[in-house]
Symmetry: C2
Subunit: 458 residues, 2 copies
């Protein structure tokens, strides 16, 4: 019965009970209760218990049963190595060979070369070869996330024989809901959904009912582009082909959700200047170590700013009031730079910004910077006049804010575009970096203007 | 044949050719070529052409064919209203009634009350009632994104009769890959995948092979929580039940991808202080208007900072050199505050931070702030001593940076936690806001220290 509901983070299984069964060596009772759980819940339990309890789990579960857990488990990078080293190597190798190839590749990618090789040697040669091929694809490409367990049907089969193939392949294929149709040369020529197959007449030829307009990706395509296509077309799986149009693998929607999540979290982290290792679970020392590199780099940039400002010490000495508006000006220009940066990074990530539209984006941001700069400038002049009854200082601060926003907005869109051009991930031009850069320029603009018009201000 | 590949943003269809067929009123040729396209490509074409060509499309396509386009189209909010108002109202109503209910609800939600009512009145009463029910669920809940087109099977059916139901329902159901098993009271009692069904013996009872451990969500559950569960368990669909355990609808994976995308983009936008309307397509004036509210609010906060600094004008007059380090201190504390903010917002979003672990996060961030503060403080003292040969100013700036980072890190995690507690989306405590807040505190700390130790500095 459906008694167990998920209320927030409440677990769906009885952890103490399972632990007790393991400790009292109740193998049958443990297997009965544990194997009734969804693999995700099995994984949560496995992940949570200590190493000695895990040793008992390895004894009680077959490598095949363990493989289901490792297909869904979401570990820190170094934990894969740790957990695998706990297992008997032969057990680990057999588990890996029972996993879907794409998931096995994910795990093997976390190991060092030597360990990876030793596992591959222990596997049966066919599986090892398939995995080796996938390991050869560059990270973040379609080839690296595809699986080789899928169902293909020859175009001249009947619906009846296709259903028979499907029934046979169902237990091993990662998805049977799309059937990929190939010709004698294994070239992809069509696609069918299981939905269409089960409502079709049994004697009809696949070739006559398949869809010939297959949307496919190449092994070398970027995983983000693949995610975009699958999202746009609402696909549950997409075929991956090589340059010769031969079917090499498929990518299923669950892997794409992981890609979307990863990329989004990555962009977010970079905007904030943090690393993905800096999550809730990290201890304070580890968190500090991941944050410090950015902070120290920015500290040096800040010292550089301070040094530049030192050139204007004479001006600041004459009119100390000038210093009061520095945080206002650098803050506002930093904010508008971050806004422009975020729009550009997002545009590049979604593919809306391409070679032809780069100039258009820059032109647009120039105008946007001008509008926002003027609006903020006028506001500041008004506030300073109404509040402090200072018109000269007000005009100076207003002019500085207007120019700084303009420059910051252009820089905020130009820098990610330039990085994209140079083949660097534009998200690396993170928020803190743009902000610090804009600190420098805005202060130069402000104190430069102040020094020029020092006689009017005093 | 699979000749048409996607190279970056290259389209998969011949736009000019389709336009020509429309203009020359070649209805049969247009229908043949257009309907062979994937609905997503149909939508891209439909979206791109002008209003008079769209009028011809309405003439050439049935409301049912148009419904497929509207199920996948991704328009700006106000475009739904515009496109629907172009159609004959009866045509529009029929199109809406042919759409999956969840997609129809998405479209109707973009219209004003009056328009919505008039469309609902023109639909057949059964569909209108189903849609009305979905419209009643609060935004961002499972109820609001679920669909009512799914396949249910009674638990005492045989596999054979279940397959017959499936074949009958396949054309209308949003997914047939999961079959939800109910008892006589429509209560959810089990689930089966089509994969399990097609390999099962035809005479067996569903009750004997279904999985009784159904993972389900409640109609009122937050869509982000639903997304998290579907991601964890790799589900293609999840059933939605009411408090009485009665099945009310299902949520499919394509809707969940949209949720994940939206939420991620939302958090990203808020960290940068931009709105989702501020995308690549927006004109410079529109972009400026969406960015200005934040900039102006922060400008007022900045003026407040300036005013506070004014209190220290006497100190700044005595030692103008002090002003030189203001951007360094406020910048560094702003950066560390944003880092802490991003970790907290992400932790809350993924559900890792809950009531029990809030205090743990705060304690951790106190220590992290202390470590990073000390490290940056010592670095600054060293730099200023080595570079400027100033020890007193160095110690002052170092102490100010150390304290500011500590305060900023704590504030960066405390504020989103507090907002979450108050029921406000923590991502609203955006990067610019935290940065400006930390400007104020860091400058108060710095100039406060400077004023206290003014005699040592001079």
């Amino acid at each position: 019965m459906v008694e167990q509901k998920r209320e927030n983070n409440e677990v769906r299984y009885n952890e103490e009970f399972l632990q007790m069964l393991l400790m009292e060596q109740e193998i049958d009772a443990f297997r009965e209760h544990f194997l009734a759980l969804h693999p995700y819940d099995q994984a949560k339990f496995y992940e949570k218990v200590g190493p000695d309890i895990r040793q008992t789990i390895y004894l009680y579960l077959s490598p095949e049963e363990m493989a289901l857990i490792f297909e869904v488990i979401d570990l820190e990078d170094d934990e894969y190595e740790q957990f695998l080293s706990e297992m008997d190597p032969a057990y680990g190798a057999e588990m890996l060979s029972h996993m879907y190839t794409d998931d096995a590749v994910d795990v093997l990618n976390e190991l060092d070369n030597e360990q990876r090789e030793s596992f591959l040697e222990m596997m049966d040669s066919e599986t090892a070869e398939e995995i080796n091929e996938l390991l050869g694809y560059a990270q973040y490409t379609a080839g690296a996330i595809m699986t080789t367990e899928y169902v293909t049907i020859l175009e001249n089969s009947t619906v009846r024989s296709a259903m028979a193939v499907l029934r046979k392949e169902a237990p091993n294929a990662e998805t049977i809901y799309y059937i990929f149709v190939v010709n004698d040369q294994r070239q992809l020529v069509g696609v069918m959904s299981l939905r269409d197959l089960i409502i079709a007449d049994e004697d009809i030829l696949i070739h006559d009912i398949m869809s010939e307009r297959v949307v496919s990706v190449k092994v070398g395509d970027d995983q983000e582009d693949v995610a975009q296509i699958m999202r746009d077309y609402n696909f549950l799986a997409i075929p991956v082909i090589d340059d010769n149009n031969e079917l090499q693998g498929i990518i299923t929607v669950d892997d794409i959700i992981d890609v979307i999540d990863e990329e989004a979290s990555d962009d977010y982290s970079k905007l904030a200047g943090i690393s993905d290792a800096d999550d809730f679970d990290a201890g304070p020392f580890k968190a500090a170590m991941t944050r410090l590199p950015w902070l120290i780099i920015l500290l040096f940039l800040g010292m550089f700013t301070a040094n530049l400002m030192g050139q204007f010490e004479a001006t600041l000495e004459k009119v100390a009031l000038l210093a009061v508006f520095i945080p206002l000006i650098s803050g506002t220009s930093g904010n508008s730079g971050t806004q422009a940066l975020a729009v550009a990074v997002r545009g590049i990530a979604t593919g809306e910004v391409n070679e032809q539209s780069k100039l258009k984006l820059l032109m647009k941001e120039c105008l946007t910077g001008l509008f926002t700069g003027l609006a903020c400038g006028v506001t500041v002049v008004a506030i300073i006049f109404l509040w402090k009854h200072q018109i000269t200082i007000g005009l100076l601060v207003g002019a500085a804010i207007c120019c700084s926003i303009l420059v910051a907005t252009i820089a905020g869109s130009f820098i990610p575009l330039l990085m994209d051009k140079l083949g660097i991930d534009p998200a690396v031009a993170s928020g803190p970096f743009i902000t610090t850069l804009n600190d420098v320029t805005s202060i130069l603009i402000y104190l430069g203007l102040a020094t020029t018009f020092i006689n009017q201000i005093m």
